[in-house]
């Protein structure tokens, strides 16, 4: 089976995210005063060949830990389409 996996990678909470800050200022300048705590990360989508959704998720988790996210600076979450 082929599973579509969505990976979200965001800068770890507590670490300065200058991109998020710049976008927050821009939103505020456009009048969106209600926006705050903007964080900017990455979305990665991939197809994973696996026998089950659980197996696909485990494989994607290993990929995150080895390459897709930097454990020093980033947190990730993933979702397997079923």
């Amino acid at each position: 089976m082929s599973y579509r996996v969505h990976v979200r990678v965001v800068p770890r909470a507590g670490l300065l995210d200058p991109q998020g800050q710049a976008v927050e200022h821009a939103l505020s300048a456009l009048g969106f005063r209600e926006a705050g705590s903007v964080r900017i990360g990455k979305a990665i989508e991939l197809e994973v060949q696996a026998r089950s959704a659980e197996e696909a998720e485990q494989a994607a988790r290993r990929m995150c830990e080895k390459l897709l996210a930097n454990p020093v600076t980033e947190d990730y979450s993933l979702e397997v389409e079923t």
Binding site: P11, L15, L16, P18, Q19, A22, L67, N70, V72, T73
Partner: protein, 235 residues
């Protein structure tokens, strides 16, 4: 003659400057390609600056899986001198050979200018030719140079005196966080516990030819020649 391997990745762009800097101090320096698996008898290894793999995903994230990196890791584990400059520093952090990571500059812009630095740790393979606390100027040229690490790692780096170079004001006073990229503790470069692995964001390779200006970075390359004569057991 000391044999120095300069590793070329696709996207390296300081490879020739680094090679020339090593040759200028009287070493036999040569290139190895990232797909090679053998360092060809290198005594020292240099990872030059640039944008390996276009900085895709994260700076240095893909280069660390290049075939040559297994040999580089074995070289360093055996105590061999290994210097990562700029992108080379990013690769060493991604590979876990030095702690921490380099993130996007605090003001988001690419910073390319000379900076003032204090050489705080001189018992390394690349700084033993400097006086402790020497003030030097070298260029930086990077977009992802903000050094970060968790508080425990920072505490350990400071306690073990592994901050090799720190950003300072031109008169040598503490930068107090007012550094070019927002690095924690004004860290510009660090080393491993044994001092044989050093990584830094500034470019000694761009400050080592007297014809092009003050050559205050040449000491990084000269230090390779004298590292063996320093008591390694002293640390």
């Amino acid at each position: 003659m000391l044999r120095v391997a300069v590793v070329r990745f696709p996207g390296s762009n300081c490879d020739l400057d680094t090679l020339r800097s090593a040759q200028r101090v009287g070493t036999e320096a040569y290139f190895v390609w990232h797909r090679d698996t053998d360092l060809k008898g290198a005594d020292c290894v240099l990872l030059p600056g640039g944008f390996s793999y276009g900085d895709y995903l994260r700076s240095g994230a893909i280069a660390r899986f290049s075939p040559i990196m297994n040999a580089v890791q074995r070289h360093a584990e055996g105590g061999g001198p290994l210097l990562g400059i700029c992108n080379g520093f990013q690769i060493l952090c991604e590979a876990g050979m030095l702690p921490g990571a380099l993130m996007r500059n605090v003001r988001l812009s690419f910073v390319s200018r000379p900076v003032s630095l204090r050489v705080e740790q001189t018992d390394t393979a690349f700084t033993n030719q400097y006086e402790e606390n020497a003030l030097i100027r070298m260029p930086v040229a990077h977009g992802d140079g903000r050094y970060v690490a968790d508080p425990e790692t920072l505490r350990r780096l400071e306690a073990e005196r592994r901050i090799v170079v720190r950003y300072v004001r031109p008169d040598g006073a503490s930068a107090d966080g007012e550094n070019p990229n927002g690095s924690l503790n004004d860290i510009a470069g660090i080393c491993n516990g044994a001092g044989n692995v050093v990584g830094l964001m500034p470019h000694p390779d761009r400050a080592s030819d007297p014809a092009l200006g003050p050559a205050q970075g040449a000491g990084f390359f000269q230090s390779m020649l004298t590292w063996d004569h320093i008591a390694k057991g002293a640390r």
